[in-house]
């Protein structure tokens, strides 16, 4: 650990300049991108609604900015190009499967080209509130062809780290109710007809999603973060792991919870 020094009563720490690392796309990528000029880091947090994603991203952002890093955030359905239309499509449930899937891919590509890649080029820490994995898992649960999805998302840049906040479906139900009045139609997978009861459907759907994530983990190598803990514990683990990404060194030992 670097030492914090006191200077005029203000804690100063040397600001770490992230080590550049070679970058790759999953497939063909985006035409005409100079991969060697992407100085920033791409950090992805994945997990179901209620897994604590937004809380953890907000904490990461505070911490990174405090450490002198500029940040920018992206997430699903946030593109200038199609976010409104995607919202409408979901509310009306009027697009069929392949169409909806390509619509989401358009949303992703728009943010990739207009926020993620320019951000990285400018040396920003790009924090992604979910990435292609959620999109793939949702489609896989709905029986779409995996090879087709892999080709589609061959445009995606390989992130510097992907954290999956793992929370059991039973816990997710509780957290969703403490946050919202009702369960969300899509997060309950109601379009799949798993059960006419939303509660049952939610549990079934979330465990199908968790299975897909486990499978994807073995392909894409996420860090699985145990989400059934306090926000502080999770946050501390994320910081250690992100710090390792920034310095290019191995992760520091946990300070207090070693030997558990």
């Amino acid at each position: 650990m670097r030492k914090a020094r006191q200077k005029n009563g203000v804690a100063t720490r040397p600001i770490v300049v992230p080590r550049p690392t070679p970058r790759r796309f999953y497939g063909h990528g985006i035409p005409n991108v100079d991969r060697n000029r992407l100085a920033g880091k791409l950090i992805v947090v994945e997990g179901a609604d209620g897994s604590g994603r937004s809380t953890q991203i907000a904490r990461l952002r505070d911490w990174l900015e405090g450490c002198g890093h500029a940040t920018v955030q992206v997430g699903l359905k946030r593109s200038t190009l199609v976010s409104e239309e995607l919202d409408q499509a979901q509310n009306g449930n009027i697009l069929s499967r392949t169409t909806l899937s390509l619509f989401y891919a358009t949303d992703f590509a728009d943010q990739l080209e207009n926020i993620i890649l320019p951000g990285l080029k400018a040396g920003f820490m790009v924090l992604a509130d979910r990435y292609i994995y959620t999109l793939m898992a949702r489609d896989l649960v709905r029986g779409m062809d995996e090879a087709w999805l892999k080709n589609l998302y061959g445009i995606a840049l390989i992130p510097d780290a992907v954290f999956y906040l793992n929370v059991s479906p039973e816990q997710l139900v509780q957290r969703n109710f403490s946050k919202n009045q009702a369960l969300d139609y899509w997060e309950s997978g109601m379009d799949l007809g798993l059960s006419r009861e939303m509660f049952d459907s939610f549990l079934k759907y979330q465990s199908l999603m968790a299975n897909q994530f486990q499978r994807l983990q073995s392909i894409y190598g996420f860090h699985i973060i145990e989400g059934n803990r306090s926000p502080e514990q999770i946050s501390a683990e994320l910081k250690r792991k992100v710090e390792a990404v920034l310095t290019g060194k191995r992760e520091a030992e946990p300070e207090s919870e070693a030997g558990s």
């Binding site: 190009l81 239309e85 069929s96 169409t99 899937s101 619509f103 080209e113 080709n151 589609l152 445009i155």
Partner: protein, 232 residues
């Protein structure tokens, strides 16, 4: 190689026309439709009206010039998927002869010219079965260009390929763009088994060839419309 609708045992058949703007393909498919209708066949000309959602996104992207080659390709694939799943597949399941003015090959040509990797684009569209018959209207580049540039001098930004910065002059940009698209079409002709029609011939000669080729490939007697009282 992807399968055709016949190979996938659909009762319907899909016939597509491809070619540059101004090659006369729309005229030919219109005449084909008229003829098939007059034979009392179950025919459907797929004029695509994009769903409001996709239309709104596409027009926003075009108006504000937000589209890159990748998002241009994806948003058109979205639109195509919507058309495919909502219109084409149900019609083909219902046993129609479906006529399409442009199909996936338009996207293959256009997106590849814009710099998307051809394998990626083809992969995007591999959910779609191939046409049972594809007519490619091959005209001389100058002839097609002249027809368009004579009749409709206001070229739109993406239509003229202005996003590729080929030339600051929209007309010059359009010429270069169309020339490259033609190259792509010619390259795909054998691979996708296009029936090539010489679009420099008189309209009537082209149409008789189109009808002949269609009859040779598809048993039209299978598509007789049921005689429903009071409908015709």
């Amino acid at each position: 190689m992807a399968k055709t609708f016949a190979e996938l045992s659909f009762p319907g058949r899909l016939i597509a026309v491809e070619g540059l703007d101004g090659s006369g393909k729309s005229t030919q498919i219109y005449l084909l439709k008229r003829w098939l209708e007059q034979q009392g066949l179950k025919v459907f000309f797929s004029e695509w009206n994009s769903s409001d959602l996709v239309k709104s996104a596409t027009s926003k992207g075009k108006k504000r010039e937000l589209l890159t080659p990748t998002t241009f390709s994806l948003i058109h694939a979205t639109d195509f998927a919507d058309r495919y799943e909502r219109q084409l597949v149900p019609l083909l399941r219902a046993g129609y002869l479906v006529l399409c003015d442009r199909y996936i090959f338009t996207a293959f040509a256009r997106d590849t010219v814009r710099g998307c990797p051809p394998e990626w684009v083809r992969g995007l569209y591999n959910f779609a079965a191939h046409p049972d018959l594809t007519f490619f209207f091959k005209a001389q580049l100058e002839v097609s260009l002249q027809r368009i540039l004579d009749g409709r001098p206001q070229l739109k930004y993406f239509e003229a390929g202005m996003d590729m910065r080929l030339s600051a002059d929209p007309y010059e940009s359009f010429r270069i763009f169309q020339g490259r698209i033609l190259e792509q079409y010619l390259g795909m002709s054998t691979e996708f088994n296009f029936s090539v029609i010489d679009a420099n011939q008189p309209i009537e000669s082209q149409q008789s060839l189109v009808r002949e080729l269609l009859m040779a490939r598809i048993d039209l007697s299978l598509f007789a419309a049921p005689n429903v009282k009071g409908v015709r």
